[in-house]
């Protein structure tokens, strides 16, 4: 119950890398850090995934997509949803953060810096359009459960920020 490390069979990594978040199609579930373990036990792949947000409607789809990707690679699988340890944005890999930025979603800052932004409105989140640091928080809640809404004061573009958990 208390494991914080990932246990993933290296053979399965290339398969799981090909499964993407349905709402952020550039972000692989591996880079998102939701796969906590994937091991072949008695010929069946047992996968443990953890939700990003409790109400994230993408989790059911992700589970189905994993099953399908494994099936395509001739593996039977069982997907379990685990809650502990709770997912944190710190588990998004550097490659995942880069993919987010390129997609137009500001990547989560380190947890401490994020608190500054969301709780005091300090301008640290960079605009994904023009890279300006002159941005303001419009709302702590954005287009999906995992995002906050920002606005750039220089180029005037609104943009999403993947908020820290």
């Amino acid at each position: 119950m208390t494991k914080t490390e990932q246990h993933i069979d290296p053979i399965l990594i290339p398969i799981l890398q090909q499964v993407f978040d349905p709402e952020i199609p550039v972000l692989s579930i591996m880079d998102m850090g939701v796969v906590r373990s994937a091991l072949i036990i008695n010929g069946i792949v047992e996968v443990e995934i953890t939700p990003t947000y409790s109400g994230c409607p993408a989790m059911d789809v992700i589970g189905d997509d994993i099953e399908k990707a494994l099936k395509d690679a001739s593996y039977d699988s069982r997907i379990d949803l685990i809650l502990h340890p709770a997912w944190t944005t710190d588990w998004i890999t550097p490659r995942g953060k880069k993919a987010l930025e390129n997609y137009g979603i500001a990547a989560p800052l380190e947890a401490d810096a994020d608190k500054e932004v969301l709780l005091n409105g300090k301008r640290i989140v960079k605009c994904t359009n023009c890279r300006s640091q002159n941005t303001t928080l419009v709302s702590q809640f954005g287009s999906t459960a995992c995002k906050a809404l920002f606005k750039c004061e220089d180029c005037q573009e609104p943009f999403d920020y993947f908020k820290c958990l």
Binding site: M1, P51, Y53, S54, G55, C56, P57, L83, H84, P85, A86, W87, L118, L119, V138, S139, Q140, F141, G142, S143, A145, L149, K163, L165
Partner: protein, 250 residues
């Protein structure tokens, strides 16, 4: 079946279910796009949290019951939520006031539930608290904005707080299941949260330049299944699909 644990979980989850349904009513009706989206996000968080609780409860029940049955197929008297969360969205100040009075409690409650000896409950709490801290920030910011805003927004915010105040004491009422779970170190002793709760609420109300209600008369009953008239209407909305098309699935 562990009757007390089952009832204890429902007591926690029903608050989030009913509040999630209530604040979800603002979908498409929020006073601005940002608040509309915020309210529906909060609703989604709460309903997501409810799923974790009900999935666990269904497992404890150990029969045919599913999380959906627990959410959709109980009668009014079987819901164990506090009266506060079922109060209607009379205007935006009520929506915010209700959310605020619950969020401050919810946050303190989850902080304690993380220490539960029940590992599943502590894992759920650990997950939920991250989301609820955003809710509390949102609702307390709005209480301040409305309270310290125009003469009209102040009047409406004050009226909402005054009216909802009578439902706050019930947050600290303990049912038989609550008491049994506290004894087993599974449940949170809510009576110990009361002092800090009112202190924090009063501090925030002062910041919002609002008056602290003086009424000492408090309404209770929800936790024992005795609800205000508003719950029935809410449930008829919530349960409509399952009652009309039994056993339907998406």
């Amino acid at each position: 079946m562990k009757e007390n644990l089952y009832n204890y979980i429902l007591g926690i989850a029903d608050n989030s279910l009913i509040l999630g349904q209530r604040i979800g009513e603002l979908c498409g009706h929020g006073p601005s796009l940002e608040t509309d989206i915020a309210c529906t996000n909060i609703s989604l968080d709460l309903l997501g949290q409810v799923r974790s609780y009900f999935q666990y409860a269904a497992k404890i029940a150990g029969d045919e019951r599913t999380e959906d049955d627990i959410a959709m197929l109980r009668k009014e008297r079987d819901y164990k939520n506090v009266l506060l969360v079922e109060q209607p969205n009379s205007n935006f100040a009520y929506t915010i006031g209700r959310q605020f009075l619950f969020d401050v409690y919810h946050l303190a409650f989850l902080a304690e539930l993380q220490k539960s000896t029940d590992l599943i409950l502590s894992a759920i709490a650990n997950k939920c608290i991250k989301e609820v801290s955003y809710h509390e920030r949102f609702s307390s910011d709005w209480v301040k904005r409305l309270g310290d805003g125009t003469a009209e927004s102040k009047e409406k915010m004050q009226e909402a707080i005054n009216d909802l105040w009578t439902y706050t004491d019930e947050l600290f009422y303990q049912t038989k299941a609550d008491k049994a779970m506290v004894l087993e170190s599974v449940g949170v002793d809510v009576t110990k949260l009361k002092g800090d709760y009112y202190k924090r609420i009063k501090g925030l109300l002062e910041e919002a330049t609002l008056k602290i209600p003086e009424s000492k008369w408090f309404q209770k009953g929800g936790k024992e299944g005795v609800h205000t008239e508003h719950l029935g209407y809410l449930l008829s909305d919530l349960q409509y699909m399952q009652r009309t098309y039994p056993n339907m699935e998406w």
